[in-house]
Each structure stands twice: as structure tokens, then as C-alpha cells.
Symmetry: C2
Subunit: 209 residues, 2 copies
Amino acid sequence: MSTKHKILDVADVLFANKGFNGTSLREITSQANVNLAAVNYHFGSKKELIKAVMSRYMDELSPQLESALSLLCESTKQPSLNDVFSAFTQPLIDLNCFKENGTSTFLQLLGRGYTDSQGFLRWFLTTQYPNVFTLFTNAVKRAYPELNTEEMFWRLHFTMGTIVFTMSSSEALIDIAQNDFDKTLDIEDVIARVIPYVAAGVAAPIIKE
Amino acid sequence: MSTKHKILDVADVLFANKGFNGTSLREITSQANVNLAAVNYHFGSKKELIKAVMSRYMDELSPQLESALSLLCESTKQPSLNDVFSAFTQPLIDLNCFKENGTSTFLQLLGRGYTDSQGFLRWFLTTQYPNVFTLFTNAVKRAYPELNTEEMFWRLHFTMGTIVFTMSSSEALIDIAQNDFDKTLDIEDVIARVIPYVAAGVAAPIIKE
DNA sequence: GTCTATAACTAGATAGAC
DNA sequence: GTCTATCTAGTTATAGAC
């Protein structure tokens, strides 16, 4: 296993758990059993390492998302909002095959990117992976044509918030559910619970101005 | 205006915008025009300063929330979920009288506390302000009695996520809305838009197991 | 209470031997 | 490609003069 790979494998988990600011290169390199200088040799800087960590997941995920969303847009029958959000489930779950706990790690990273680095992630995703966004908004428009662009803008951001925040604290929530309700859940169960919630939120009656 | 007050007034905004980790004491003291050593003299440590910042808001907010939620619980007519979430609106908006941009600053701080400091805020809120939680869950139970405790647990966490995340990025969202839709909005408008969303989410059909 | 000065430490990044 | 050693700059926190 290459040094580069070892660094990425340790960095994503640490970044997900403690944030980008909260994780030092020393922590990453010592856990990865590589030299401190290796990060700068292989990636150039901490910022580039962060980009590499995100890209590795997005490059795995975005083709899957694109094909799942394309299917919905091209299908002759109108999809429901549940269908649209459910299109994300399988590609996200498949990240667990890509890497252990890949799904929750990626979703936590997404949350970190949104809050830690003041708009960096928004820039990164919209410039590097614009197709996913276009396909997604088209799919939502097909499922709920009455929703105007402005209202959709807000509700999709609310949805992003729900998902990202839930996943950032998913480990804690799963622990609490285990203790309080004696249920052993995994990330897939959490996703199954959050989809009806966001679908109902997006489908909420439109407020008058 | 006392040194202590000046520090708190600068610290909350910086913490809200850049996170706890991302804000240094040097930044706070220089913006507040006080000496670097003043933080440690008045608060003891950075961690205690963070607690003081949060307490100042919560001590202002929690009595208002308690009385608004008590009203709902004691009223003879059954409240709707919209009523329950709307009970938060006025107390939150009133934070703008307490301090300029108080509402968004506080809600951003809430988000920071959840994600920056790995469960510290959860501990802080549930141990220091338990009444608000009890009253809130009781109010939701009255509004939607069919919702069992476990499902409510999940949906309230989803809601927390939606609110906190939305408010963390509310400034960015308001800017985008200005540019894309030529609408000048404020935090109150954002709250008015998010309430129907979360109310619909909590009211979503209960999934079968 | 407020200041300067500095201690004690940690961060990211790099030069140069191997 | 990997290492040690070190640089520079940042951090929190504190000691002691005023």
C-alpha cells in the first residue's frame, strides 16, 4: 500500500471526525505511520490534501449519482420526491464497499467542508461536479413541477442541511438509539429514516408572500 | 463599556463566523481593542470564554422559550406542529434586540457548538438548560400524539440539523437570494421559510419496519 | 485592572542528507 | 521516495511591572 494511499485513508477519517482545522498533519502522518514530510511531498500542502480527500470520494460517487438521476429524468412516468431522494441511497451506500464506513465518512466530510472552510466546498462541488447539481434539480422539478425555482432553492438547501448535519452526528445518534431504544442501527437505517423527512419537507405547502 | 463585555461582543461574532478552533484569542482581543492577556484574566481560558459566550445567549433565550412552550402545553386546544415550531420564532427574533444580528449569531454559534467541539454543546445544553427540552418534546407530543418516542427522537434531530445548518450558512443563502432572485431578505424571512419545511418533515407519514 | 514580555507549545512547510 | 532537523509563524497561557 502506497504512502499516498495510507495518508488519504487516515486523513479522511480524521478530517471527518475532527474537522479540517482540528486535524494536524502530525496527527495524520503519525497515525498513518509515514513521515511528517510525506504530506507536503505527495500533496504539496494541507489544502491540496483536503482537495484530494474530497476528490477521491466524489470521483467514486458522481458517476453513480449521474446515472441514477439520469434514469429518473428520462423515465416516462413522473417520479415522486421520495424516488428522487432515494436515488442517492444506493450510490451513497456503495461507498461502504469503496472504503469501510465510507458512507458516513463522506457525508461527514461534506458537512465539514460546508462549515469549516467558509464556502470552499460550495465552490469545489459546483465547479468540479456541476452535472450532479443540474440533474438533481431537474429531477426535483419533474417530481414537483409547482415548486418555483426560488422555493426550490431554499428547500434544497434545507435538505442539504438536514442530511449533512444528521450524518455529521450519525455515530452519536446511532449510539443513543442503541441505549434508549435498544435498537442496533447502521447508516443505512438512518438514511431510510431521513428520506421521508426531507421528501415531506420539500413537498410542504407553498407559503404565500 | 467594560473589557469583559467588549470581549464577549467581539468573540460571539468571530466564533459564529469562523468556528471556535478557527478563532484565536489574538484576533478577539485585537478587534475588541483590549489586551491579549485580558481574556485569561477575565475568563480563565478560551474554553471558559466559549461557555460564557453561549451562556449569555441561552440565559437571555431560555426563559422566553420556556414561557412560550409552557403556553402551548397548557392550552386546552391542540396545537399544530407549525404552532410548536413557531413558538421559537419570537424569542429567537428578540435576540436581535439583545444584540445586533443576535438571532443569526446565536444560531450559528449553536451549529458551531454541535460540530466543532464533539458533543460539548449537547452536554452543555442538556445539563444547563434541561427545561427547554422537556417542554419542547411535550409540545410536539401534544401536536402529534401518534408519533412514537423513537420516531420523534429521530425527527427532532433532523429538525435540529436543518435549523442549525441553515442558520450557519444563512448569510451566504441571503446573499445568493439577493443575486439570483433580486430579493432582499433577512433572518426572519429565512425562519419563516424553514418552519413549514421542518413542520412537514416532522409530520411525515410514519414508516413501517 | 491593565499592560509588556515571554514562556511553552503547536502548527505547516522546507532544506538537505541518504 | 523517505528521512531528520529545522525554520517561521502561529497558538494559549502566565509572570511580573505598573
